[in-house]
């Protein structure tokens, strides 16, 4: 059984937001919901400062604190390590959102238009809303699931496919010969905030 993970090379990422857009288009997420995000960080002291983009998504932790606190068992971990939410079991208590230190979870109370002043939903928004409600819906917790449907079809997650800089590598962490395992070993891949202890499966290659 594979154990899926991702490596993001921070030297390659230049913060173009292509992954953010690809995720929104593929997963039909509502306004304000970003399963893939880009954070901007700063390091050093003036005048020797550097700005760095950090792509963030659900870390698909080996020991997910969101799953631990879920009172209904709606958050589950598949055999391949991907953490998913069963929309039919979630009661929308939002406790998982308080438990995720990476801010990867979202919940929306209603679908709002992207356009201002209470304009009616456009035909594309109507379509997107329908697709979203089939998969997730309002009032329940939602998060990135590594595009499980695409993985099932033998494709890569949408964010990996869309990255113009090839900063993202997706693969099997169990296989020592997979590209992802080699990258982590060769370039000493690190996880975000390891002190939290969730054992994320998204690794980063240092920007310098």
């Amino acid at each position: 059984m594979p154990r899926y993970g991702m490596v993001i090379d921070l030297k390659r990422c230049y913060g173009c937001y292509a992954c953010v857009m690809a995720c929104k288009v593929k997963n039909h997420t509502p306004p304000g919901v970003f399963w893939a995000r880009i954070l901007k960080g700063e390091s050093g002291t003036f005048p020797n400062t550097v700005r760095q983009a950090l792509p963030v998504l659900c870390m698909q932790c080996d020991e997910p604190s969101c799953m631990e606190v879920c009172p209904t068992g709606a958050t589950k971990q598949r055999d391949d390590g991907i953490v998913i939410v069963d929309k039919d079991e979630c009661m929308g208590c939002k406790y998982c959102m308080m438990a995720c230190p990476y801010g990867a979870r979202y919940s929306v109370e209603k679908w709002e238009s992207y356009f201002p002043d209470g304009l009616p939903l456009s035909p594309y928004e109507e379509f997107t809303k329908k697709k979203w409600e089939e998969k997730s819906g309002v009032g329940v917790a939602t998060k990135c699931d590594f595009c499980v449907d695409r993985i099932g079809d033998g494709k890569l997650p949408a964010c990996v496919d869309a990255c113009p800089a090839n900063a993202r590598t997706f693969g099997d962490l169990e296989d020592p010969n997979s590209e992802i395992s080699i990258l982590i070993k060769k370039y000493r891949g690190e996880v975000l905030n390891p002190e939290i202890g969730n054992k994320p499966k998204v690794y980063y290659l240092a920007p310098r």
Partner: protein, 320 residues
């Protein structure tokens, strides 16, 4: 519409959860005091009765507030499925058992002549679950890995002490209302003395909590925010703790004439302010909870101030 950034405040839990935690605390605190007084006996009979009448309704209304906050309240029946790992599931069981016990105690005490061993057992179990309920309201937050401010270990202590304070003030208020302005001086003096002790304890607990939060970088951000929060500083610390403390001290050393109107007013104002303060405390602790800063290779990734959204009429947006 901006994506969520680490370092920013959580916005998912607001007033409904604050009221739920507040009423859970009142229910637990009032029942604990009532049940302890029940063991003491006749001299504090009135506070026992008032406390028993407060416990169950406070919890019932609090639970309705929790339901109101749920995204899918019709699935609330599933809430207790995972008591092994989830504090919401554990809390569901603790509060449910406590509600049954407090209702049973109330019915036996008010509507039957049953006394003795049975009521003692119910009271002891009730106290255990009442303390569990008070602690749960803090542990619920303390078990959230995503908000370092709540994980300093002091939140349950603060919430238990605050629950006793608010429970005590609710009993005091109930006594004033039930006595219709002729509350005897002796119980009022005892209540004032207890209130002073509990409020001093709460001041110590909150100072300990904030000091613990200041020692670590991530909780410190929230601690700084809460100290800049006007509702917390003025509404809770000054009006919700300071003023009631002064009023209770005045009451304690100056209850000369039984049932004097000014003393009843002092007690009533102190109790109401203390209750408002308890609610503000919970709301402030909730809204000042921030996600931890993410860091890797010397970079810190957190909220960076962004320019304001363009106004309608500029660029592609239609003019107003």
């Amino acid at each position: 519409m901006n994506p969520k950034a680490n370092g920013q405040l959580q916005k998912e839990w607001g007033w409904w959860i604050a009221i739920y935690l507040f009423l859970g605390g009142i229910g637990g605190g009032a029942y604990t005091i009532a049940a302890v007084n029940w063991f003491i006996g006749e001299s504090v009979e009135m506070s026992t009765r008032v406390g028993l009448w407060i416990g169950f309704p406070a919890l019932a209304i609090g639970s309705i507030c929790l339901l109101a906050d749920l995204g899918s309240p019709k699935r609330a029946i599933l809430a207790g499925l995972k008591p092994g790992t989830s504090w919401i599931a554990r809390g569901t069981w603790i509060i449910s058992v406590f509600m049954v016990l407090s209702l049973l105690h109330l019915i036996l005490h008010e509507f039957t002549d049953v006394r003795g061993a049975l009521v003692s057992v119910i009271a002891i179990l009730g106290i255990v679950f009442a303390v569990g309920t008070m602690a749960y309201t803090g542990i619920l937050l303390g078990a959230s890995k995503g908000i370092p401010f709540w994980r300093t270990g002091a939140v349950p202590v603060v919430f238990v002490v605050s629950a006793l304070v608010t429970g005590h003030f609710t009993i005091m208020l109930g006594m004033l209302l039930f006595s219709r302005g002729v509350a005897p001086a002796a119980p009022l003096r005892t209540m004032a003395l207890e209130a002073v002790a509990l409020v001093v304890l709460e001041v110590l607990a909150i100072v300990f909590f904030l000091q613990a939060a200041f020692k670590l970088p991530d909780p410190r951000e929230s601690a700084e925010r809460i100290l800049r929060n006007r509702a917390f500083v003025f509404g809770y610390f000054m009006l919700g703790l300071g003023v009631p403390l002064v009023l209770m001290l005045i009451l304690l050393f100056n209850v000369a004439r039984p049932g004097a109107g000014s003393h009843l007013a002092l007690a009533g104002i102190g109790a109401v302010l203390g209750l408002i303060g308890g609610l503000i405390l919970r709301q402030a602790v909730l809204v000042c909870g921030a996600l931890p800063t993410l860091n890797i290779a010397g970079f810190e990734f957190r909220r960076i101030a962004r320019p304001k959204e363009p106004k309608a009429g500029i660029g592609l947006l239609p003019p107003q």
